[in-house]
Amino acid sequence: MKIKSPKDFWSGLMFLGFGLFFVVWAAIHYQMGTAVRMGPAYFPILLGGLLSVLGLAILLESFVAEGPPVPAFALRPLILISVGCVLYGYLMKPLGLFVATLALVVVSAFGGHEFKWKEVLILYAILMLGSWLVFVRGLTLPFPLCPDFIANCPIR
């Protein structure tokens, strides 16, 4: 058996995996119920089963029909941009909007083709001012501005 269409092989495997997971998890943890009174497991098992069948079909087809290879993943931007977003979320409560924005802008800028500190810092300054004026002052979103350890935040 030789994989002829790698894209289909991996997507089939992904769908099969997700489908089986939903079926098994629902079957173990939730009530099935009957067709008249469907329990919480009924719909997920139905759909999970369907997804598994579709995934299996795509998987099997990948051994028959020719298809293009899976292109390389651009791991650097993928990781840096995801990490940048996550940092933004988790730095917001302890360190405030300005630090969180700094983390997001700098980390995600590292994911690009070229990185110049001067450019990135100017961009940060603009975005920081923009988010503060438009979203916090203008639209009154309740974002923390200063880090937690500063008792009386001078900026409002």
Partner: protein, 501 residues
């Protein structure tokens, strides 16, 4: 003349200064993101959704709608001048629009695109006003089995009209449906697939999924491409098309409007499919098909009219049935829900101001867009010279603010990043995210209606066949699936979508 009275009332709502302002903001933003490659209306509307909480429902919808059809205008500018589709629905405009620009005829191409879009916008606004009320009337009689079958039909249509592999698109829909039911089960109160994470008990936020799948995933995909752009900015002098241009363009505009309006109503349709369809049709009907791809004005006029018409008529199923026909409409439904309005046929009767105000604002918005796009074209072109390395961190900051502000919770941002990674994997594996998003929003609705229908029929699944309207939808869905699965048509369908390459 009830329609007339209603439209007058709608215009009364739409031309109040505050609503004019929001229509203008929407059109400006829409043109902006339409011009900029790498950010589409889905991500933008998702970003702005949390902010609309502070607006009145009418203002919110007017602004968000403006973004969607504004993006259709803006997208053509980038397609013509840079050969990059600023928006996915202007992919085909690149083919002939860019060639026209290379021949020094960028001005007429832009003018025909804008005027064609304006004409299409006027006609489709009228179509919405005429078609929506009777449809809503019918929809009021729908019971759970009709709704369930309608959703099945909608999802099938969405997959048939998606790019690429049919079976993958169906799998993505089912995957979306499954993700949609994460959270508290309304009937039993059981927490499903929440893994003891309290933030998941309300389900995964739709906005978060949309921003991850269409926002961060897109940015990563864009960063892979080295940007090399050749911009024909200096050539935009002579805007006005010649008599010959008008003579050649008016019929494609008409045909594009008609086809676009029709395709827009279909579930899964909207702007993207409309523009592809119109280009293929113009090429088939032309007496000089060999000119296509070499700067034929018909290849700009048809698709550009069609995508704008399609963008607008795709509001019909959303407004009358409460069912989204594409990802943007799913976000509109999200916007209604944020305002505490249950989307569905009753909206027209209960909130006539909202309904007719929105429709009238579309016409007003289209007028604004012609003004924004033709005389101000130079300003938009300048935007294209902004390098992507400044743009994408800014987009990320806005997305992060939007997601974080949903419930002031870091976990939401984490989920967005997770869906960004998933979306990127899907791009690599050629699995379209759009059908998944539709499934995601319809998941809970489908389960609810399935349960009710089965309860009413005492567990007899034949209820979907016994009720005539429901049976109609099921039969239509089956026919669609069979037809598309036929080898000959399957090939044809793939042809339509590779035309762009």
């Amino acid at each position: 003349m009830e329609i007339f009275n209603n439209l007058v009332m709608g215009f009364g709502v739409a031309v109040t200064p505050i609503h004019l302002l929001y229509a203008l903001i929407g059109c400006l933003l829409g043109t902006l993101i339409g011009v900029l490659p790498g950010i589409g209306p889905v991500a933008t509307i998702a970003m702005l959704l949390p902010i609309t909480f502070n607006l009145s429902p009418v203002a919110a919808l007017i602004m968000l709608a403006g973004i969607y059809y504004g993006a259709q205008y803006g997208g053509s500018t980038t397609a013509i001048l840079v050969n990059i589709p600023g928006e996915s629905s202007s992919v085909v405009t690149c083919l002939d629009g860019y060639q026209m620009a290379r021949q020094g005829r960028a001005g007429p191409a832009l003018a025909v695109a804008a005027l064609g879009s304006f004409f299409a916008g006027c006609v489709s606004t009228l179509i919405i006003a005429l078609a929506a009320p009777p449809l809503a009337e019918v929809a009021l009689k729908f019971g759970p089995s009709e709704y369930f079958s309608l959703m099945v039909f909608g999802l099938v249509a969405a997959t048939v009209l998606a790019h690429g592999s049919l079976i993958k698109a169906i799998a993505m829909v089912v995957f979306g449906l499954l993700l949609g039911i994460v959270g508290t089960d309304v009937n039993s109160g059981v927490l499903r697939f929440t893994f003891n994470i309290p933030e998941l008990s309300d389900g995964i936020g739709f906005v978060i999924v949309a921003m991850g799948m269409f926002g961060t995933a897109e940015i990563v995909a864009n960063l892979e491409l080295k940007d090399k752009r050749e911009i024909f900015t200096k050539d935009v002098k002579n805007l006005w098309p010649t008599r010959e241009d008008f003579k050649r363009a008016w019929a494609p505009v008409m045909r594009g409007t008609a086809l676009g309006s029709f395709l827009g109503i279909l579930p899964g349709g909207g702007a993207l499919l409309a523009s592809f369809g119109a280009y293929t049709m113009e090429k088939k009907m032309s007496r000089h098909p060999e000119q296509f791809g070499k700067g034929a004005i018909e290849g700009v006029a048809g698709p550009e009219s069609a995508n704008n018409a399609g963008a607008q008529t795709s509001f019909i199923p959303m407004l009358t049935l409460g069912i989204p026909s594409n990802a943007v409409m799913a976000l509109m439904i999200g916007a209604l829900m944020i305002q505490g309005i249950a989307p569905g046929p009753q909206v027209m009767n209960e909130k006539p101001q909202l309904f007719w105000g929105l429709i009238a604002s579309m016409w007003v918005g289209n007028l604004m867009l012609v003004v924004l796009n033709l005389p101000l074209i130079g300003m938009w072109v300048k935007l294209l010279t902004v390098p992507y390395r400044y743009l994408y961190p800014s987009i990320l900051v806005f997305m992060a603010i939007g997601v974080f502000s949903l419930s002031n919770n870091a976990f939401d941002v984490l989920i967005m990043a997770v869906f960004g990674v998933l979306g990127y994997i899907c791009v690599k594996l050629e699995c379209e995210p759009a059908p998944m998003i539709l499934g995601f929003i319809l998941g809970p609705l489908m389960e609810e209606n399935l349960r009710r229908a089965m309860l009413l029929s005492r567990g007899d699944p034949m209820t979907f066949i016994y009720k005539p309207i429901s049976a109609g939808f099921i039969i239509a869905a089956t026919i669609l699936l069979i037809v598309v699965a036929l080898p000959a048509i399957r090939k044809k369908r793939e042809e339509v979508f590779v035309e762009e390459a």
